[in-house]
């Protein structure tokens, strides 16, 4: 296997493995939702795996990630074990949030995953705040906000990015522009089609990236992260990508996008593309990639088994951790 001049072989295979892990996990969650085992909202990341994978591969465990409602991929890429993700969606005690959150409220600060959110926008300002802590405490940690194109027309985008730029905070703002905010086309929601282009208005670097090319995302994120780590301030990255499935599981394709468009993007599947590239450009052996496939499949099957067999949370714990000290303050 020949190497990319920049990226070592192990790292290339790790990128491939993370994307596969996200895809296979999501496929299981789709199945579990259809079976009625998962309730509420369930927003899958299928088609967008290259973004979380490429960005998080540039992060350390002590770097902070704040995510959005479509956060399964970010959680896995940042290091939440698949068993804890699946268990959370099944509402089990062993879930990464102990069953308190479900699909949209994933937490594991131990690996720097500071939470996904059911509200569009706040991840941007929260990540700026983590950047403020990094500055105040003189660490070289960075923080990342993942958000969709829907968030860029929310005030949090303006206020958060403006402050991060004004104060040169070590933050990477990653817009996953999948062209639709729920079912509203980006083109109907704003006049300027470029998110990256907005960076100039705030005085920070902005870059548009092919969000279905994991190596392009990895390279752009690497540059932004090292700039932030060395005191060079924040970056806005716009990753152009597409979700293959409906906004949320259980929803129909409601006619807001065409079958041709969906099929064209599926043909640009980030995992298929990267596999071909690994085989053709980097001389990877098909057997090695197949072995990764098999390992990931087993891992995900084990995650589902673990989640299904896990206990439900104790109802008596529902009010725990409302306050830091349990002093009987229950209104």
């Amino acid at each position: 296997m020949t190497h990319s001049p920049d990226v070592p072989r192990d790292r290339l295979l790790a990128l491939y493995r993370t994307m596969l892990l996200i895809r296979r996990c999501e496929e299981q969650l789709v199945r579990l939702y259809a079976a009625g085992a998962i309730r509420g909202g369930c927003h899958t990341y299928i088609g967008e795996e290259a973004v979380a994978t490429g960005v998080c591969a540039q992060l350390r465990a002590d770097d902070a990630v704040f995510s959005t409602h479509r956060g399964h991929g970010h959680a896995l890429a940042k290091g939440i074990p698949p068993a804890e993700l699946v268990a959370e969606l099944l509402g089990k005690a062993t879930g990464c949030s102990g069953g308190r959150g479900g699909s949209m409220h994933l937490f594991k600060p131990e690996v720097g995953f500071m939470g996904s959110s059911g509200i569009v926008g706040p991840c941007i300002t929260l990540a700026a705040g983590a950047g403020y802590t990094a500055r105040l405490q003189r660490t070289d940690r960075v923080s990342v906000a993942f958000f969709g194109d829907g968030a860029v027309n929310n005030a949090a985008f303006h206020e958060g990015i403006n402050m991060a730029a004004a104060w040169q905070l070590p933050v990477l703002f990653v817009c996953e522009n999948n062209l639709y905010a729920t079912e509203v086309p980006f083109a109907k929601a704003t006049r300027n089609p470029s998110v990256a282009g907005r960076a100039a208005a705030y005085g920070l670097p902005g870059e548009e990236v092919d969000g279905n090319d994991v190596m392009a995302v990895y390279a752009a994120a690497g540059e932004a992260v090292s700039r932030a780590r060395s005191g060079g301030g924040p970056t806005l990255l716009e990753c152009k990508t597409y979700r293959h499935r409906a906004h949320s599981e259980g929803q129909r394709e409601a006619g807001y996008r065409t079958a041709e468009e969906i099929n064209a993007w599926k043909a640009r599947c980030p995992i298929t593309r990267f596999r071909q590239r690994l085989l053709q450009d980097f001389g990877a052996a098909a057997a090695d990639l197949d072995a990764i496939e098999a390992e990931v499949r087993d891992l995900v099957q084990e995650a589902v088994r673990f989640a299904e067999q896990s206990p439900r949370p104790d109802p008596a714990t529902a009010a725990d951790h409302l306050y830091s000290e349990e002093d009987g303050d229950r209104a």
Partner: protein, 325 residues
């Protein structure tokens, strides 16, 4: 003991906590070199510089959420929002993020953030600078709500708020800012959830909130001349609420008036009245009464603002009515 104003005492508390803990920082509009619109940070910028006294753009939602993100990553921010009317822009993130992140993360994230600023009708500030709005925070699980009424409590409760790992609303009534009072020398901390009996009496219980404590004390003097010995309770913190202190008083007096300049519907007075009726019904000789501000936005003109919030005379009248039950 020294005589300090409410603002001076609170500022002393903030300065002590900033000296004690380098993780504490303040954000707000004009809290840097200017020293704060209400002089909350005078002198601190020269000591600690802009990283710890951060002048912000007019982005209440943004800097409140930014401080929420700073709090969960190990800082201890103090948001100086000036007027609570301005903080309303941040209510969404406060309710969805600040209040819930500890709980959602199973206690793995802490939320040591203080939201401090002014409430209340004063100086004809008009419809956008006279809000109270604290009942919203009593209604949402996760917040502490602190409303000191004396300089000593302002210092002691602000220091406790800054050391608390939960989000604390530290609310300062504008009419109290320049009032003087004794403040103990040395370290002075006041725990959350402890009411204080501001005046002892056994004829009737008056629970008064924030500035209304001062008016209630004046009313009690008028009533004393009429032979009515009123007990005045200052809850100091509304969440947690020291209900036991109120129940103990009601056990003695049999009658309760709750005075709150904020609106009556679904307000703090309603909540206190209900909790007393649930737990102290047998002690009550008459229904609990509320005395609230008028249910309208605060008008500018003095003419329109007549009777907008209760004063000592209105409190005394309400007590007489209650005693006639």
């Amino acid at each position: 003991m020294r005589e300090l104003t409410f603002v001076e005492a609170a500022r002393e508390g903030l300065a002590e906590e900033m000296a004690r803990d380098p993780r504490v920082f303040v954000v707000g509009e004009g809290i840097g070199a200017r020293g704060g619109n209400f002089n909350t940070t005078v002198g601190l910028f020269d000591l600690y510089g802009e990283e710890r006294l951060r002048d912000t753009p007019v982005s209440e939602r943004g800097f409140t959420a930014l401080c929420t993100g700073a709090a969960v990553t190990g800082s201890r921010p103090v948001v100086d929002f000036m007027f609570i009317d301005f903080l309303v822009d941040a209510f969404g993130d406060l309710f969805n993020q600040t209040a819930k992140l500890q709980w959602m993360s199973g206690g793995r994230l802490k939320m040591p953030i203080v939201l401090r600023g002014c409430v209340g009708v004063a100086s004809q500030f008009g419809p956008h600078h006279s809000g109270n709005y604290y009942p919203f925070f009593l209604h949402v699980p996760g917040f502490r709500v602190v409303m000191p009424t004396t300089p000593a409590d302002a210092k002691g409760l602000l220091k406790t708020a800054i050391r608390c790992d939960d989000p604390v609303l530290f609310l300062e009534h504008k009419n109290l800012l320049n009032l003087k009072g004794s403040v103990p020398d040395g370290e002075h901390l006041v725990p959350l959830g402890q009411a204080v009996v501001a005046r002892r009496g056994d004829g009737v219980t008056i629970v008064a909130i924030a500035y209304m404590v001062r008016e209630a004390l004046r009313a009690a003097e008028q009533l004393a001349a009429e032979g009515v010995d009123a007990e005045v309770i200052d809850p100091r913190t509304l969440a947690p609420l020291d209900l036991d202190c109120i129940l103990e008083s009601v056990h003695k007096t049999g009658r309760l008036l709750v005075v709150d300049e904020d609106y009556a519907p679904c307000g703090a007075a309603s909540e206190i009245a209900t909790q007393v009726m649930e737990r102290g019904f047998d002690d009550l000789d008459a229904p609990v009464r509320r005395l609230n501000g008028a249910f309208i936005p605060a008008p500018y003109s003095e003419a329109l603002g007549q009777g907008l919030v209760p004063d000592a005379a209105a409190i005394a009248r309400a007590v007489r009515d209650l005693l006639a039950e």
